[in-house]
């Protein structure tokens, strides 16, 4: 099997927690901190750490606002993040195809 697609996988996205967060964000223009935390059953600290990593990689952006007098933190994928996620998916599909075709 050609190991090249596997070696090209983005290490930032590849981590289980961040991959889950990227998947959620890829399907929505933006999601709130609590929506992501409750959907994935993550702790506040864990989610914050993963989102910080994604922000540092330029894959996610954060917006802080107020709704009904309460703080509301929402996240979205950047264009760069969407491209990186699409590339990651394509590589996974290549790996699956390679095995199916017996290469």
């Amino acid at each position: 099997m050609n190991p090249e697609p596997f070696l090209q996988l983005d290490r930032v996205i590849h981590e289980k927690g961040r991959l889950a967060l990227m998947s959620l964000l890829a399907a929505s223009p933006r999601l709130s901190f609590t929506e992501m935390r409750d959907t994935l059953n993550m702790t506040d600290g864990n989610l914050t750490a993963h989102m910080r990593t994604l922000q540092e990689a330029g894959y996610a952006s954060v917006t802080k606002a107020f709704q009904g007098g309460r703080p509301l933190t929402t996240y979205s994928l950047t264009t760069h993040g969407r491209k990186a996620f699409a590339t990651y998916i394509n590589l996974l599909e290549k790996i699956v195809q390679q095995t199916k075709s017996g290469k």
């Binding site: 991959l19 890829a26 390679q98």
Partner: protein, 212 residues
């Protein structure tokens, strides 16, 4: 092995993307509100003697507006409590799915309201107090079914109950009871009783899910 792992990752990604697009707000309070409003309005409408087709349509459109406003307030309260945006993408998708059938129902009501004035009493009663309420039931069912693609699975089935119930009663024809009683009864049964029943079911199942 790598392929198994990659395929499993792709499955997880697909599941999470689908979950992200699903509307997650608690529906039980909204169903209970709509059901209570429908039941009370049907009883009050009958007792108040709202019998003319135009008065019936106007009365129930008013009830619908008040119920939608009440549901909106509940929705807003939930969003504030959970620290989530009110107009989240799933909420917008659900609203977009609901709108076509509801707008179609509203346009049909407007046409009936305009035309019924010129019709003779028997025809006006048949259209305004038999076909119109059943049409509302079917249109509402279509709206629920469309929204069900972005909501928990039971909503589509709930939509089908309205569609088949409305069509079934239309096929049976007008029964030998006073038309206003029948019209308010249909509204109370579908918009009151069914919402209440589904709301109670959701209340119990959502509570159990939260406790698990």
């Amino acid at each position: 092995m790598e392929s198994d792992w990659a395929a499993e990752n792709l499955r997880v990604i697909r599941t999470l993307m689908e979950r992200s697009a699903i509307y997650r707000r608690a529906l039980a309070p909204m169903m209970l509100l709509a059901g209570s409003a429908g039941t009370v309005a049907a009883t009050a409408g009958w007792l108040a003697g709202i019998e003319a087709p135009r008065a019936f349509s106007g009365y129930w459109l008013g009830v619908a507006v008040l119920t939608i406003a009440g549901c909106f307030l509940l929705l807003r309260r939930q969003a504030l409590r959970d620290g989530e945006p009110l107009w989240s993408p799933p909420t917008r998708r659900v609203l977009q799915a609901l709108l076509p059938a509801l707008v179609a129902g509203l346009i049909c009501s407007a046409i009936v309201l305009v035309k019924v004035g010129a019709a003779e009493e028997k025809t006006a009663n048949l259209v305004g107090l038999f076909l119109l309420p059943l049409g509302w039931v079917v249109f509402y069912g279509c709206a629920l079914h469309a929204a069900g693609f972005f909501m928990p699975r039971g909503i589509k089935l709930f939509g089908w109950t309205f569609i088949l119930g409305g069509c079934g009663l239309s096929a049976l024809g007008a029964p030998d009871v006073p038309r206003p009683l029948y019209a308010h009864g249909v509204m109370g049964l579908f918009f009151g009783g069914l919402h209440l029943a589904y709301g109670i079911y959701l209340f119990c199942t959502e509570k159990r899910k939260n406790e698990a």
